[in-house]
Each structure stands twice: as structure tokens, then as C-alpha cells.
Symmetry: C2
Subunit: 254 residues, 2 copies
């Protein structure tokens, strides 16, 4: 089983878009994935068409009311298995912020709820390394770092890498990671420059697949659908399928 | 004097880009603005070419070491007055997170450091309503909300509006606000749809000026320059000048 945490402390780089559509790609590859929404803005939840979720039936219920993860699984309209988020998650950071001991709670929950399943779990994070994201990173077997093809996003990678290395030292474990360039616009020299600079910085960790800037990817959340349901012939759908195949081929989800 | 806080809890909607370039536009209109970077990722600081800033000489120094705001003013290479951010700001949220009394500290600092000046102060925030952003909102005379022309950004506005209304009730004061659409791509139907929906939701608060998606805006931070220095003839420069004139014309900075 592989828990993949999707994180970048830079905002708007495509964490949610990547988590939604990679999960959807894996579902179509019969990998039976589970998507966990760990952002109080619940954009993954929204993007998959889940409405009217109650706080107690979301990841807020896991942290605040000791609900088990398997009891929180919902089937989204498109058929995907999701543990939704809710605005109440915002209180978790405030409640537990300084309490270091709760950082391991999600890891423990995943192990007790899903001990032997061979299915991938993808976790969408908010753009901040608070107590929720720390839970997601500690629970991770792998970290996937989306980086949009612009300078300020590139800046974020250096900092994130340093933060992960510091965690690796403290916890004496490693966080194998992959970086994927998103919002790649092939008409812009900037896109190629960012891709090259990232390659110099992270080497083999950089995915060959880039996600193209494609309006269908921006439209699909408004219809509560993943890209394969919304626009199966779009460039966005092609790219996320290619990304899923590239990562799957390297055992990223095993 | 007008303190304008630039905030949206959605990531990557152009808060920093708007803060940098509005401040630059106001500087060229001889308004002598000050930009305050309140994001521990320090992207405004970086975008204006400030390097090697020490923690104690940043907004972290204001919160942790009681430095005065005027003692932290720096002149960026392009000539703008900036109070920079630093990674150490990340600790402030952790240090003071639960201590409600420090939420008024920036407001007090602005009033004591800049009591009678007629210059605008623009504050760039991180995408989270934590103790730093709360300081910025409480210090604000106005709130400027950038919204990128996509569905998930639009979602964020409803939530932000509700959060500001709740604050207005509790504090018995108002936060006059303006919403500006950013990353507008005139070839996309989605851009027009988002603009229309926002108009229905916020009415007069929606700026007539939209900021076009323009690669020069994405490139300029990498050169440590605002858009007027980097690409004065670009669409991005035109749009931010128009936006500054529209807001100035309505007394938004007075
Ligand atoms: N490749 C793409 N092409 C077009 N639009 C995209 C693409 N990737 C993401 N978007 C759009 O850009 C916006 C930001 O993406 P997204 O919300 O996935 O980023 P995020 O990193 O999850 O943001 P946050 O930090 O706020 O959680 C969204 O409106 C999304 O629909
Ligand atoms: N109108 C535009 N045209 C082209 N690129 C843009 C435009 N506005 C912003 N960008 C680019 O998009 C990225 C996100 O913008 P920016 O960093 O200003 O957003 P933000 O809201 O401050 O993000 P965060 O939530 O992480 O603080 C940046 O790389 C920026 O250079
Ligand atoms: Mg997201
Ligand atoms: Mg920013």
C-alpha cells in the first residue's frame, strides 16, 4: 500500500487538481485508490462532486471525534472513494497547533484502518505546513510535489526540500519524492526554463510528464467531475493519464 | 492614510503579484506607498529584489523582538519602500497562535509608527487566516481580494466574505472591500463566466479592471523587478496601472 501525500507550501500550484485527477486515473487503472482531503477549503471534495458533507463525517471527525478512517469513506458521484474535508478542519490546527504528539495520528489511523490493502491513498494538503499537513507527511510513503511553471513556484521547491530533509534527519526516515511540473504552457520560454532549472535541482526526482495548462482542468471542478469524466479527449486528461502511468511504472503507488 | 490588506485564503490567485505591482504603480503616481510582506515565504520581498534580509530586520523582528515598523523600512533596488518578510515569520503563528491578544499588534504598530502620513500601506498575506493575516485584517482600512478567473478561486470568495462579515459583527466595524479578477484569459469562456458570477455576488465591490494572464507578470519576480521596470509596455503593466487608477479614483487609498 502506498500513501502519497501531495504537498507544496506554494499556493495554487495544482495540488488539488493533481490529487483529483491522479486518483481518477488510478481508479480507471483498477487500482481502487482512496483520496483523502486534508484541506479545510475542501476543494478536492468539491471537485469530485461531494456536497452537504457534515463536519463529523469528514476528516474533522477523525481528528476531533475519533472517527475511524474507514467509517468516513464516501463514494463520490463519479464512483471514487473519498474521505472528505470540511471547514471545521480549520479548527484542528488551532486546537492542536502546539501539541506535537498529535502529528502521528493520521499515520496510526491509516495503519489500523487499512493494514493490508494494496490500494494507493492520495492525500491533498493545504498550502501550509501546519499540524494537518504534518500528519499527512508523517503518514506518507511518498511525497508528490506539484510545481507550476513559474518562478515563484520554483522558489518554493528549494524551501520545501529543505523542510523535508530536516524532517528526515529528525525522524530518521526518508520521504522519497517526485516533482511534477504543472500548468506548463508550451508557448512560453518560462515554462521550459522552469523545467530545466528544476531538473538541475532535483535530478531524477523530476517527472518526465508535465501537465499542460488546459482550460478543461480549470472547468472540471465547477462540474464536480474529474478530467476523464468531464473532458476525456482533452490535453489535461492525456497528461494526467501519462503521469499516472509514469509513476505507476516506477512503483510510486506500491 | 489607508492600509490596504491584500488577502484571499485561496492559494496562487495573485495576491503577491497584485501587491507588488499596485505598490509600484502607486509609487509612479507619487503616492509614496509602503509595501509590507507578511508571508513567511517572502515572495513580495523576493519579487522586489531584496536579498539577504535577516530575520530580526523583517516583520519577524516586529512580532518577536518588538522592533518598530519604521526601523524595519528598507529601500528595494527599484526604489520602493518595503518592510520585508523572512522564514522566521512561520514561527510567529506557532508562537502566538492561540493568543488572541496579539491580533491587534500590527494595527497599533501602524498607528504609532505612521500616525499622520497620507501614504498608502499595502500588506501582502499568506493564503491562511492565521495570527499574521488576522493582524493584517485588523490593521486594514480596506481589504483587496484578488480572485483568479477559475472556479475554485470563485469558491474561495464566498467563504472569505462570510469570514469578513463575521469579523465585522464581532469587532463592530466594517472592512470595506474590493474584488479584482486576475489571470483573466480573454480566449476562455470560463474567464467571462467567473467575472459575471462574481459581479452577481459582490456587485459594486467588483473592480471593472481585470488583470490579464500575461507571461511578463510571471517572469518579472525572477528578475526582482515590478512589472513597470521589467516590461513597461506589457499588458500586465497596462492592467495594473489601470487598476491603480480605478482604485485611486474611488479613494481606495485615501
Ligand atoms: N494544468 C492546469 N490547467 C489549467 N488550470 C489549472 C491547471 N492546474 C490547476 N489549474 C487551476 O488552477 C487553480 C489552482 O489549482 P489548484 O487549486 O489545484 O492548486 P492548489 O495547489 O491545490 O491550490 P491551494 O494551494 O489553494 O490548495 C485551480 O482553479 C485549478 O482548476
Ligand atoms: N496575471 C498574471 N499573469 C501571469 N502570471 C501571473 C499572473 N498573476 C500571477 N501570476 C503568477 O502566478 C503565480 C501565483 O501568483 P502569486 O504568487 O502572486 O499568487 P498568491 O496569491 O500571492 O499566491 P500564494 O497564495 O502562494 O501567496 C506566480 O508565479 C505569479 O508570478
Ligand atoms: Mg488545493
Ligand atoms: Mg503570495
Amino acid at each position: 500500500m502506498s500513501v502519497v501525500t501531495v504537498f507544496n507550501q506554494k499556493g495554487g500550484v495544482g495540488k488539488t487538481t493533481t490529487c483529483v485527477n491522479l486518483t481518477a486515473a488510478l481508479a480507471r487503472m483498477q487500482r481502487r485508490p482512496v483520496a483523502i482531503d486534508l484541506d479545510s477549503q475542501a476543494h478536492l471534495t468539491l471537485s469530485l462532486g461531494l456536497r452537504g458533507v457534515l463536519g463529523a463525517d469528514s476528516m474533522a471527525g477523525f481528528f476531533k471525534e475519533e472517527r475511524t478512517l474507514e467509517s468516513l469513506l464516501q463514494t463520490a458521484p463519479g464512483g471514487m472513494q473519498v474521505i472528505p474535508a470540511h471547514l471545521e478542519l480549520a479548527k484542528v490546527d488551532a486546537l492542536f497547533g502546539s501539541n506535537k504528539s498529535i502529528a502521528g495520528r493520521l499515520r496510526a489511523g491509516v495503519r489500523s484502518s487499512f493494514p493490508h490493502n494494496g490500494f494507493p491513498i492520495l492525500i491533498d494538503c493545504c498550502p501550509m505546513m501546519g499540524v494537518l499537513t504534518l500528519n499527512a507527511v508523517l503518514a506518507a510513503d511518498r511525497v508528490l510535489i506539484p510545481v507550476s511553471a513559474d518562478y515563484l513556484s520554483l522558489q518554493g521547491v528549494h524551501r520545501l526540500d529543505a523542510a523535508l530533509q530536516a524532517l528526515e534527519k529528525t525522524l530518521k526516515r526518508s520521504f522519497p519524492r517526485k516533482v511534477v511540473v504543472t500548468r506548463f504552457d508550451s508557448r512560453r520560454r518560462l515554462s521550459y526554463e522552469i523545467y530545466e532549472k528544476l531538473g538541475q535541482h532535483v535530478g531524477e526526482a523530476l517527472c518526465r510528464t508535465c501537465i499542460t495548462e488546459n482550460v478543461s482542468l480549470a472547468e472540471s471542478p465547477g462540474h464536480g467531475m474529474d478530467i476523464f469524466s468531464y473532458a476525456p479527449q482533452s490535453q489535461g486528461a492525456k497528461d494526467y493519464r501519462l503521469l499516472a502511468e509514469e509513476l505507476q511504472g516506477e512503483g510510486f503507488f506500491d
